[in-house]
């Protein structure tokens, strides 16, 4: 437990009558991929939202590297090293891929109240952005407007944006959705290489990817964690088979 980078304790969130998060406690350790699986509507994205700061939990605590972050804003949490991707990609559509990533590099380098030097020729922004894109095998799309990208490519840009933050933790919400078998296989490889650098909390429906990548798996059903363990344990858990794997 001592090497946990991210720790959630007794998190609760209601939307009216709906208990979207129900007493969730879990952690993410250095060097691991922790997969969060569960049926649609289980509350996975809601959980990510609470960690990243867009949603406020009703109760419970969230600690990043030992520091309580649940009262901080989205931007403050990002500056402390929370990188995330969205289930429905959230990028600036008219801007080029590289400009979307460069804003993350800019954020990492410090304050944005610089009014004079043009960003377009700023190698200190461009080079790290291109590096992040190369890691996602997307450097050839750097100058393409996001609006011309496929769904899969958008996901990859989001991951590149998160990587450009040099995050301490990555929260990825269904990064493989819409990628197709070939794309998922490639992203699986990329994530596998990545996990030694930055621990990943991974929400994913692609079970091949999950079982291959995850060191630990938590199963979320109706807002609550119903099972927790490594791949073999989860596969063998009758409760999980019934509630989720369903076959």
């Amino acid at each position: 437990m001592s090497d946990a980078v991210l720790t959630l304790a007794h998190l609760n969130k209601r939307f009216g009558a709906l208990q979207a998060t129900s007493d969730v406690s879990l952690d993410l350790r250095e060097g691991e991929i922790h997969a969060l699986i569960g049926p649609n509507g289980a509350g996975k994205s809601t959980l990510i939202g609470q960690i990243a700061g867009g949603l406020k939990p009703d109760s419970g605590s969230i600690a990043l590297a030992g520091r309580e972050i649940s009262t901080l804003s989205v931007a403050q949490r990002a500056r402390l090293g929370l990188g995330r991707s969205f289930q429905v990609s959230s990028l600036a559509e008219p801007l080029s891929v590289k400009r979307n990533v460069m804003i993350a590099v800019q954020a990492l380098q410090g304050h944005s109240f610089r009014f004079w030097k043009p960003v377009q020729r700023d190698e200190s922004l461009l080079a790290p952005a291109m590096q992040a894109l190369e890691r996602m095998a997307l450097a050839h799309r750097a100058d393409t407007p996001v609006s011309e990208l496929s769904h899969g490519e958008r996901r990859q840009v989001e991951v590149a944006c998160a990587l450009a933050l040099k995050p301490r933790v990555l929260l990825l919400d269904e990064p493989m959705a819409g990628l197709g078998p070939e794309g998922s296989a490639r992203l699986t490889e990329l994530l596998e290489a990545l996990k030694h650098e930055v621990p990943i909390l991974l929400i994913e429906h692609d079970m091949n990817a999950v079982f291959r990548l995850a060191d630990r798996i938590s199963v979320l059903v109706a807002g609550a964690v119903i099972a927790h363990g490594d791949g073999a344990e989860i596969r063998g858990n009758p409760q999980v088979r019934e509630a989720y794997l369903g076959d």
Binding site: A92, L95, N100, S112, F115
Partner: protein, 348 residues
């Protein structure tokens, strides 16, 4: 991909930078608009038509005020319906300062005595600072809201200032405040219509250059992202609120400086400059010219003042025609006159 690939993306030395240049259409339109604005009053001056020189000054100042508004609306996505507050406040700074300079009474007697001044440089500086502070206060509250609420709250603040000016008798109340002697600059004669026009022209080109430069900087990148997708900006670790607030303040400063010059042009400042009609006029100019286009406010101001002058001379219902033109622009030329003349803006 290797390092050399990255370098291809940077401009090569010796080649022109891929920005507006002499040979592209947008650059030509921009230079054409500036040339038109500069040459028309020069011609009028040599033909002895002072009226048209002053008309060009009016176009220039209204355009400059709209350049300020465009920074908020077009580049920042903050639809302010209250920019008359800054335009009028700038005007009142010029008027009040001149009034006390004429009267030899202090503007404020306590705790420190601040004398009036007929120096334009001092007036401009004060107008910029005062409008910036007002925008900081109004923006700090208004930017907690978005959409229609933001429009309404900026309007409400501006109306408060309008009613305050209307009911404060010291500076003329609803009758306004005359500036008997135009404020002065060292060396040049500000009473000369052409000289005054050139001062206004300098102000406009400076605000255009400033806007362009800012929007290419890191701050501009953040402001663009705040407009297009503020979730993305926050997720990257940059809080959108302070970025917007600073842009709003700069926007008000530009509009306020234009207002100070406008009062000197007319030799008069009144609550009209603070009214919602004025805010609306500036918005119409921004929309006519092309929202978020650097030269949109200039194109819009030329069109607006031309219609006002030509049609306004024929019929008092000229605003009906203005409405029609606005409708046509919104329906058929979504990107305004600049979009129509220079093509759609492309982001890189």
């Amino acid at each position: 991909m290797t390092k050399s690939d990255t370098r291809i993306l940077a401009p090569q030395p010796g080649l022109p930078a891929p920005t507006a240049s002499w040979h592209d259409r947008k650059g030509l339109v921009q230079i054409g608009l500036l040339a038109l604005l500069l040459l028309a009053p020069l011609a009028a001056h040599f033909l002895g038509h002072v009226y048209y020189v002053n008309l060009a000054s009016r176009v220039t100042l209204v355009a400059m005020a709209a350049v300020g508004l465009n920074l908020a609306i077009g580049y920042g996505g903050m639809v302010s319906f209250g920019h008359a507050a800054y335009f009028g406040l700038g005007g009142y700074v010029a008027g009040i300062s001149a009034y006390h300079a004429f009267d030899l009474t202090p503007v404020i007697g306590w705790p420190v005595a601040i004398p009036g001044s007929d120096s334009m440089l001092a007036i401009w500086l004060v107008a910029i600072v005062v409008c910036g502070l007002l925008a900081l206060a109004i923006g700090a509250v208004s930017l907690r809201t978005t959409g229609v609420y933001f429009i309404m709250i900026t309007l409400a603040f501006a109306q408060m200032i309008y009613y305050f000016a209307n009911s404060w008798p010291t500076y003329g109340g609803e009758d306004g405040l005359p500036i008997y002697l135009r404020n002065t600059l060292p060396i040049v004669d500000t009473n000369d219509a052409l000289t005054f026009f050139l001062i206004c022209f300098g102000g406009l080109t400076l605000s255009l250059a400033l806007t362009s430069r800012i929007m290419k900087s890191r701050f501009g990148a953040a402001l663009t992202m705040a407009r297009l997708n503020d979730t993305r900006l926050a997720t990257a670790g940059i809080a959108p609120y302070p970025i917007r607030l600073v842009a709003f303040v700069i926007s008000a400063m530009i509009t306020g400086l234009a207002g100070a010059l406008y009062a000197d042009l007319n030799g008069f400042v009144s609550p009209t400059m603070l009214s919602w009609h004025m805010s609306g006029e500036l918005m119409v100019i921004v929309i006519l010219g092309g929202v978020g286009r650097l030269y949109g406010p200039l194109a819009g101001a030329i069109l607006y003042v031309m219609m006002e002058t030509l049609l306004g001379g024929l019929t008092e219902y000229w605003k009906l025609f203005l409405g029609l033109v606005l409708l046509l622009v919104v329906l058929f030329a979504k990107y305004g006159v600049m979009g129509w003349l220079a093509g759609r803006e492309r982001h890189e």
